[in-house]
């Protein structure tokens, strides 16, 4: 049955439109509203050092795998230095090199990241670590401690927690005391823990990073413990043994290699500064699409030149106008001149704004009608008469523009935006209706056109709707589906309820 095809087609169009929409919204993160912004953190590492006499090479660990965060961009500010990014054993390394430099040097590395929960650890499962070679008396202490903790735990996570609890005990047992005798910094402490875990054949490593919060002029690195339980990496707070990660923890680098190293220089220091910005979510989503290479769904209009974007911003609202037109015609039942004349008038209203648009339109049609009736006395043939009306409409537009310009009202100039051919046709149709059916019908038709135009203008002027359609053009498929469905609407029009009210009474 034909009905089936119609419903099937409408359903198919809606499904396609909605799924692309949801993919772009949920997965690619395109925002639903225009002014939606996401926080973006820019972390700047400033490296300062004294240059030596010869060539200089500086290496800095930079973020590689950052669970919970996605990189927006990174760059280096270093005048005269050659810059490269390489993969080292502990992840990515930034490398600067220069043949010679004088005095104190400063180079910068900047990275911008934003939160994205979908970024997970795509790290490989590490092999079991080799048993560390430890000298006596340490070795005995390690063995005793590991055996003891092993007896008091069930799995990797509880082993780690128990180990950390004992290591952090304010009154530690002698074995722990011995192992911690050389520890002076947090990272040394984590090193010892890593070594102990390796003795129990548990892969573990130290991670360094920052909890991102607001703006920090000098951020301090926090060391954390990462333990692999065979499936995934677990994070432990080395100071408490709790299994967690601080809020918004950005992992800068992993392993116990130093953050920065230098050849041919001295007194190297790294300082971190963190800045929080808010960036348009569309820009972030765009970049994400580019990074993923998701070109199949890249119908995005944001990739077009700005001028073309402006054109499409308007054009994409025409389907909305058409939808309103269909509703007004077939559901409400308002008579209007011309099928899409009200939509085009509504487009012109966008430029003139509603108040002036209504005034100018009424003025134009009234003057045009008057002149059309004068022309009628000349008994012209149809096409020459239509052309004459068109020419008169153009002259009227010119006249209105000139007059309003003289009077200092620049809004009058926008009358030129009205689609003149459409207005000329409207005037002709209206005058015929006026003669044939009387002024009441003609004015009713004219008012109907205006009502539909105002309704279309109202919807076409909604900025959130414009943004939505512009960002998700696939929603046009849903509009198409609803127009197709309404094409099979066989119910009454609202105005018919009034028209047939005598029947309903009887």
């Amino acid at each position: 049955m034909k009905h089936g095809y119609v419903y099937g087609l409408a359903a198919l169009l809606s499904v396609i439109g909605l799924s692309v929409f949801f993919y772009k919204w949920q997965v690619l993160g395109f925002p639903l509203t225009e002014d939606q912004e996401k926080p973006v953190w820019t972390i700047e590492s400033a490296i300062s050092f004294d240059s030596g006499p010869g060539s200089i090479k500086v290496q800095l660990h930079v973020p590689t795998l950052t669970p919970g965060f996605r990189m927006l961009n990174e760059n280096s500010v270093s005048r005269g230095y050659g810059f490269s990014l390489n993969y080292g054993s502990g992840g990515r390394e930034a490398q600067w090199a220069i043949r010679r430099a004088d005095g104190e040097q400063r180079i910068y590395y900047r990275i911008s990241v934003y939160e994205d929960d979908s970024v997970d650890e795509s790290d490989t499962t590490p092999p079991f670590p080799p048993l560390p070679v430890i000298n006596e008396p340490m070795n005995t202490a390690v063995e005793v401690l590991v055996d003891d903790v092993n007896d008091h735990s069930a799995d990797t996570a509880s082993f780690t927690t128990e180990l950390l609890r004992r290591m952090n005990d304010p009154s530690p047992d002698p074995n722990v005391e011995l192992l911690l005798s050389d520890v002076s910094m947090d990272s040394d402490f984590v090193d010892v823990v890593t070594m102990l875990l390796a003795s129990a054949r548990i892969p573990a490593r130290i991670v360094h990073g920052f909890p991102l919060a607001g703006r920090q002029r000098s951020a301090t690195l926090v060391s954390w413990l990462e333990v692999h339980d065979g499936d995934r990496w677990l994070y432990f707070n080395p100071a408490t043994g709790e299994e967690n990660l601080p809020d918004r923890f950005l992992v800068w680098w992993r392993g116990n290699e130093p953050l920065v190293s230098i050849e041919g220089g001295s007194k190297i220091q790294v300082e971190f500064a963190i800045q929080e910005n808010h960036v348009d979510a569309v820009a972030i989503a765009e970049r994400q699409v580019a990074q993923r290479g998701a070109s199949a769904v890249d119908f995005s209009l944001y990739s077009l030149p700005i001028r073309t974007q402006a054109v499409y911003g308007v054009l994409l609202m025409i389907p909305i106008g058409a939808l309103i037109m269909v509703i007004m015609r077939n559901i409400v039942g308002i008579d209007a001149f011309g099928t899409f004349m009200p939509v085009l008038i509504a487009l012109a209203f966008r430029e003139t704004k509603l108040f002036w648009g209504l005034i100018l339109f009424t003025l134009l049609v009234t003057l045009g009608l008057t002149i059309r009736f004068l022309l009628d006395r000349l008994r012209l043939l149809l096409v020459p008469r239509l052309s004459a009306v068109l020419i008169v409409v153009v002259m009227l537009m010119l006249f209105i523009s000139m007059t309003s310009h003289r009077m200092g009202m620049e809004t009058g100039l926008s009358v030129a935006l009205f689609p003149m051919v459409i207005i000329a046709m409207t005037i002709e149709r209206m005058s015929v209706v006026w003669e044939e059916r009387g002024p009441a019908d003609a004015i009713r038709g004219g008012l109907g056109s205006l009502v539909v135009a105002v309704a279309a203008y109202t919807f076409m002027g909604m900025t959130w709707l414009e943004h939505l359609i512009f960002t998700f053009p696939e929603l046009l498929l849903i509009i198409l589906a609803s127009v197709i469905l309404m094409g099979r609407y066989t119910g009454y029009r609202l105005t018919e309820l009034r028209r047939f009210k005598e029947l309903a009474r009887g």
Partner: protein, 316 residues
């Protein structure tokens, strides 16, 4: 609002959307439209089927032929000029008399005098397409002016009252008489202010009238009651309209007829998109009757049989 819609649905009132999708699109294939949209063609088809139509005096298809107008009309003092592809009764000029001394001055049905020049302008407007459905070039017909039967003399203000029968798949489903008023300028078109009067299909007697979607009992200009008038030749009218289906092939058809004093019922024109006001005039919905016709539909029935069945099935 939903309540009103439900009530209308219960009475079986047909709405515009349903008419357009379920009736016109389903039953009236586009290729058959020219048979009713072009009145010259309609006339030829009706004549070929042996139906009675007003005599055709001439057709003006080009501007240049307008000068033949005088020759076509000849000595006749009454005639009608209409566009071949007009809609809603627009562009029809009814000439009922001529100035005895100045033969180029004509009197219209509304009493106004009009010069031959004005008539020629009107014809060139018709040919130029001002009244055609799509604005395309058109032809002007000049034909016999019906001298209408006195049945409706009391309830008409000038012009020619006509009878509209809506025919569904060859079965007359509903009928009304359209009475011109002062407001309708002598035209029998409800949009323009004519009175529509329902007709009891089984007897051919008139019911109450409707003016501008409101039920009326008397003619607004003459004051005479519109109900209970017996339409003459009712059998013939029903059969002719049923035959309209065989001639046009249109499943949802409006047949417009006039009753001439001398020649009896004549087919004026047929319509592939008959309006829905007929429901108000009859105080009844079309949907119920249409459903009944679907039940009793018999493709082998003759027009006479279908007319007879309609008389049985649809008493007022």
């Amino acid at each position: 609002m939903v309540l009103a819609a439900k009530k209308l649905r219960a009475i079986g009132v047909l709405g515009l959307n349903e008419r357009n999708t379920d009736f016109i699109m389903r039953l009236n294939p586009r290729r058959l439209f020219p048979r009713v949209d072009d009145k010259v063609l309609t006339k030829e088809l009706a004549l070929a089927a042996g139906m009675a139509v007003p005599d055709l005096y001439g057709v003006i298809a080009h501007q240049a032929e307008a000068r033949n107008f005088a020759a076509m009309v000849g000595d006749r003092s009454s005639f009608v000029i209409k566009p071949a592809r007009g809609s809603g009764g627009d562009g029809i000029l009814v000439v009922i008399g001529r100035n005895q001394h100045k033969r180029d001055s004509f009197r219209l049905s509304n009493g106004m005098l009009i010069s031959e020049g004005e008539i020629l302008h009107h014809i060139s407007n018709i040919v130029g397409g001002q009244y055609s459905l799509s604005g395309n070039r058109d032809k002007a017909l000049i034909e016999y002016c019906v001298r209408f039967d006195p049945t409706f003399a009391e309830v008409s203000y000038q012009g020619v009252p006509d009878i509209r029968v809506v025919v569904y798949r060859g079965y007359p489903a509903m009928a009304m008489v359209r009475l011109p008023t002062r407001a309708s300028d002598g035209k029998a078109n409800l949009h323009q202010g004519a009175v529509g009067v329902g007709v009891d299909i089984s007897t051919g007697k008139t019911l109450n009238g409707v003016l501008d979607d409101v039920v009326v009992e008397e003619h607004p200009d003459t004051g005479a009651l519109v109900a209970d008038l017996q339409i003459p030749h009712w059998d013939f009218i029903l059969e002719s309209s049923a035959r309209g289906y065989d001639v046009t092939g249109l499943g949802y058809l409006g047949v417009d007829m006039v009753i001439d004093n001398d020649r009896g019922p004549l087919i004026l024109e047929m319509n592939a998109r008959p309006g829905l006001n007929i429901q108000i005039a009859n105080c009844a919905g079309l949907s119920n009757r249409v459903r009944r016709i679907d039940e009793i539909y018999d493709s082998s029935a003759t027009p006479e049989m279908r007319a007879a069945i309609a008389r049985q099935e649809f008493p007022a």
